[in-house]
């Protein structure tokens, strides 16, 4: 059973079997959810220059957009916290009955469809690269240091990418098809 299906047109791998991925996915998703909560609350980066010092958390980064720009604060918060977290919650909701060989949860199909539609809008990894760019820009002017949340966020990004590549969408859809 080591077969895989490949697109006849562009040779992208369509289906490759991954056994027991369900439990690993759920444990990864739970880990990432805990990390998201922690990464939001703790200071993310700190800066020091000329005797002054300042900490910033992810929440503060989103809420710098004030007044006419406050729509953007909500959008940024959604892109880097709410949507990644929502996707994982939906994934756990869909997978939990499947891995115990129970019938799918009510509304599991719309839930997984929503989770899939949100993929392009979940931008945690882009925010992480954005931090690197900001650090490069500031490194000449001030001392910038990572806070605890930055490390959590770094691990989180790796785990989010791992979750996405471990997930076999085809078999999840197939198990929802009964």
């Amino acid at each position: 059973m080591r077969q895989r299906a490949v697109c006849a047109r562009c040779h992208t791998v369509l289906i490759a079997p991954r056994r027991k991925a369900g439990k690993q996915l759920i444990s990864l998703a739970l880990t990432v959810l805990i990390l998201i909560v922690a990464a939001v609350l703790f200071p993310f980066l700190s800066i020091g220059a000329g005797g002054m010092h300042h900490d910033a958390s992810i929440l503060q980064a989103a809420f710098v957009f004030e007044g006419g720009l406050s729509v953007l604060a909500v959008a940024v918060l959604f892109f880097i916290v709410v949507i990644p977290a929502l996707r994982l919650l939906l994934l756990i909701y869909v997978l939990a009955p499947i891995i115990r060989d129970r019938p799918p949860a009510p509304l599991a199909r719309p839930a997984f469809r929503l989770s899939e539609a949100l993929v392009p809008w979940s931008m945690a990894e882009i925010f992480a690269i954005g931090c690197a760019v900001a650090l490069v820009k500031l490194s000449d002017l001030a001392d910038v240091a990572f806070g605890p949340a930055a490390w959590m966020f770094a691990i989180l990004v790796v785990l989010v990418v791992a979750t996405d590549s471990l997930m076999c969408r085809y078999s999840i859809w197939a198990s929802l098809d009964q």
Binding site: A49, L69, L72, P110, W121, L138, W173
Partner: protein, 208 residues
């Protein structure tokens, strides 16, 4: 190549299940099924125009306002890169120019080219068109990095009198422009690329 359409089937772009042609909703996931989305090009152009409309003010208004002890400076996207280059930071300046000017403009051009290509025909091969589409769809969300950098810089550089950075109006327009171009790319039905070149013999005849 035998496609689902030849066999009287329609595939769901969301969950990959096939259903008989004419089925309105995917029996598995409930998405709306189209063998080709008849409104695709209209949606692409509508979002494209909105995106372009937001990209113009994004370049005219300041992206960042830097207040230091001695001066207050507001920089547009291009202006900021020029300032950095004048200070000798060629690398960072180049990255900013590529990420916020070259890539967005290229995205607008490629999307317009693809939409025009499936409407009026094109000389690009199908494989090349698919590749271009995948690049545009993949790269789209990464443009949001600019907005995140602005957010991080402004939340971090709050050193009272010494230096403060606040986001400018352009950040909102830039974010909207990225969102609209992402929606434009998502509305494009890449299966239309297959139609433009079918049947294959026909296309060979057209070549001189």
């Amino acid at each position: 190549m035998r496609t689902a359409r030849d066999m009287g089937l329609v595939g769901c772009t969301r969950c990959m299940r096939v259903a008989p042609l004419g089925t309105a909703l995917c029996p598995r996931c409930g998405s709306i099924l189209h063998s080709r989305d008849p409104m695709a090009l209209q949606k692409v152009w509508a979002w494209w125009l909105l995106g372009l409309g937001c990209y113009i003010p994004a370049n005219l208004y300041p992206m960042l306002e830097t207040r230091t002890l001695v001066s207050t400076q507001s920089d547009t996207i291009v202006g900021g890169a020029v300032t950095l280059a004048q200070h000798g930071n060629w690398g960072v300046a180049l990255i900013i120019l590529v990420a916020s000017v070259v890539i967005p403009v290229a995205k607008f051009l490629v999307l317009a080219g693809l939409a025009f290509g499936v409407w009026r025909g094109t000389r690009l091969s199908q494989a090349r068109q698919h590749l271009l589409y995948e690049i545009v769809e993949y790269i789209g969300r990464w443009s949001m990095i600019d907005v995140f950098v602005v957010a991080i810089l402004s939340s971090l550089v709050q050193l009272q009198a010494l230096a403060t950075i606040t986001p400018g109006r352009a950040s909102l327009f830039f974010a909207l422009s990225v969102i609209f171009t992402m929606l434009s790319a998502q509305s494009f039905d890449s299966r239309m690329i297959w139609d433009s070149a079918r049947p294959p013999d026909d296309q060979e005849d057209r070549q001189p």
